[in-house]
Each structure stands twice: as structure tokens, then as C-alpha cells.
Amino acid sequence: MDDRILIIGAGQAGMQIAISLREEGFAGEVTIVGDEACGPYQRPPLSKAYLAGIADIQSLELRAARFYTDKAIDIVTGETIVDVRFDAPGRGDTGMATAASGRIFEFDRLAITPGSTPRRLPIEGGDLAGVLYLRSLADADALKSRWTAAENLVVIGGGFIGLEVAAAARLAGKTVTVIEVADRLMARAVSPVTSEFYRGAHERRGTRVLLEAELVRLLGDAGEVTGVELVGAGQSGGEIIPADIVLVGIGVIARGELAELLGLETINGAIVVNSYAETSDPRIVAAGDAVLLPHPLGHYGQVRLESVQNAVDQAKVAARTLMGIREVHRAVPWFWSDQGDLKLQIAGLSTGFDQIVERGSQQSEKFSVLYYRDGRLLAIDAINDPIDYMAVRRALHAGAHIPAELAADSSIALKTLIVGGEA
């Protein structure tokens, strides 16, 4: 019997599982079902090149249509799976997924890559027209349709997405305000050193950045957003900031509904997997943004990573697991964020650091921050500094080390300081 593998979720992870299955020689049926109108596409450019009008829809597609035909990968779009069940483990395991349309997908093995959905702003006025999120192509098109006419953009949430959109809006000459509830930008991703640099850099480019700012409500007229009312910003309470667009980027929530239907272990909606991308039901694998996985460099704890790299690397492991190949997921997490002319590249996970080493000069807007714990290299934030970024990524990949006391000398190339590992 040829197995039928169903992949629910047509994003980067879902597509990569399908491709890797074929690369590993899987000869059965592979079906990817997704709820969006189009096939797998790149999300990162939505807040960058696509918004700026440099990339078009065709350039976003991850593979040409012919590729899927050649590989016998069946892509089904526009179908939302609302029910999924797997027979009790044992003889003749088969499962069935049902779409909202009534269409039924039968399978023998299942992969779920549901991704995440933007956290909604739970506040009065949050449902006004012009209050936008950015996750999907549809979201990006909604933003673009208001973009040209908009003069005042308020970004709620000083994370990657919000700051990327803010930078694009400043380049387009708009008045831009970023509102962040925390005391610094990108607090989940980078250290205070990098956060503080970015606050200054965005302000130098004309963006107003408000930290520890508390929202009261969004104001509107005839159903359209017109402004944001704040408390705690500056000396006078109740400041109102005009807005034609309010872009909300306050994080995402894992889409764990299907996992819960299947009785899989989840934590806050995130699907718990082991180092083989197996869920609590070993017949089902999961990958991508919705997954809580063991630290991919073998450090203590579980992490949920929202990145292309994680989606791709985890999907490869998931595909091998489906094929019966046992390979522990090990990968260096890396991220990037292009905010106007500022290129942030991160390799590794800095959580738990107890020492930082700064290289280069913040004044020149080209520098890097290396993170250490107990003298062990954890990660780097590189700002307009790909050379340091690549050196640390390579060191982490090889399980090697760069001594902190030597790294502090910016005149020495980091790659010449790499010691140990397999490099």
C-alpha cells in the first residue's frame, strides 16, 4: 500500500515537508491543503519589498506551479480544515480531514503546519476600518490599498513587523508613530543595547517612538479609524495621535485548534513536539510557527520560533520522521529584519545571556553584539554587519567558540578567532 500523506497548512513549513518527502524518495500521495487563496508564498517580503512595490505577487511564490506538478505534490488552496480525526492506533490506521466546504481528505500519515495568527488588539475601536494586521498576502494587500493616501501611520507594537512597516512608511514620507507597551523595542528578540540603538536610529529617521505607552482606545469617524488615544505618554495624559492607518504588530498566537481536535499536547495553543518533530501522537508530525520544540542547539528548555529558517529546518526533520528516518533536529536559529536601510541579522538564541561583547561603532550604524553565558557563545545581533553575523553563525553551526575577551577587539576579524568545533 502506498501511504497517503496529508499536510494541513500551505506555508513555508508545509511546502518544505512535501519537497523533502520527495527528495527522500517518498512515492505515495502528497497533498497540501491550505486556507489561503494562493499556494505557498514568501511572507517576509510582505513588510518589506512587497509593501515598497518592489516585489510583485509572482515573485513571492515559493515554487512555480510546474514544480508541484513535476513532483506530484497536490496543492489544494482555499479550503479550511474544520475537523480532523485519526482512527485509534493499531491496524489499518487511517484518518480523515473535513473542510468547511464539506470536502474530505483521507490520509494515512498526517503533518500539521498551521502557523500562527496575529494577536488582536483587545481595545475599543479595534474593529474600525484602517486598523490592520500583517501576516498574510491579503493583509498586505489591505495595507497597500490604503498606503498611498495615508499621511499618518500609527504602529502599535515595536517588534520586527511594526518597525519594518514604520521604516517603509518614513521612506514614503508619512508621519509615523510607534507605540510600545514595554520599556524597549523588540524586547523579545534582542538585548537592551540593540533595542536602544534602534530606538535612536528610528528617531533620527523621523519616526516618533513612544515606550511604556498605554492605549485608551482607537478613535474613529464613520467607521474609519482617525486616531489613537493614549495615557502615560509624555507629561500630559490622554494624548491623541492622528492616524489614517493603525498597523497592529503585537505578536502572534499559534493556531493550535486542529492539534486540540486531535488530542495532541499543546501549551498556550502551541503544539508540543520532540526532537524528531513528532507530536504527542507519534503518527503525527508538526512544524513551523505553531510548534513548541526542544531548544534546537540542545540547550535547556523548549522554544517557539517564528522564522523561515525554523520552518524549513524543522520541516526537513518532520519529513524524515514520516519516512522512518530518525534524525534529531539540530539547527542554528537565525533571523533577519530589514528596517529601511538598517539590516539586522541574528544568529543563535540569546536567552539567558550573562555577558555581552560589543564590536564596531553604534555611531556608524555598523556594529554587532555577541552574547555569552558562562563564557559560552550564544548568539549575535549584527546591525549592518554581515561579516560578524556570518562568522558567529558558522561558529555556532560547527559547535565552535569565539572567546569573549578576544572578540572585544573590533580590529580583528571574528572568523579568525573561531576555535574548536568541526569547522
Binding site: P45, K48, S59, F67, V312, W336, K343, P386, M390
Partner: protein, 107 residues
Amino acid sequence: MPEVTYFSPDGTQTTLNAREGDSVMETAVKNGVTGIVAECGGACACATCHVYVDEAFTAVVGEAGDLEDDMLDGTAADRLPNSRLSCQIKMNSALNGLTVHIAPKQI
């Protein structure tokens, strides 16, 4: 549509018609050419689309920009004078017939 030919590390050779303005990387990845990883999708953020440009085309392809030049500093395979990141080479009619050899190691 300009043609581009890829020599993959596994020995396969693929010739494709590129859409004008698409990069050498995009053309390869979308059509399943093996050997180019290109995880960042062309943002010059990952250096996993490293190619060696055929000598006959190095002049017309031109040199790497500053950012790309820095990324090439950390490629997994050896950097050679004709090394480029294929996400930064946009196809146009002047590049018709372009041949690239995909670097044997990307990560």
C-alpha cells in the same frame, strides 16, 4: 526570455528560461534546481545561494555590492573571484546564455 544554465554539485545540468527581473536564485529555486538553498528568499541575508559565474559572463554580471561582498566573506564553500550570491543577479536579455556553477556547500 533569457536563458540561464545551472551546473549543480550532483552533476546535473539544467537550462531554464528566466522571467526578466527575476534573480538567478529565484529562477533556480522556483523550478527545483538542486544545490541552491536560498532560505531567506533573496534578502541577501543567508548566503546559501552561492554560485560561481562562468568566466565568459563575469564582466557583464558585474561585481558584488558591499552587503553581498560582506556576506560572501562567510560562505560555506570557498570564495573565488567569480563568486556571487545568485539572489543578487537579476536576469535580463544581456545575460542570455548565462552559465553558473552552484557552490558545492551552502550551509
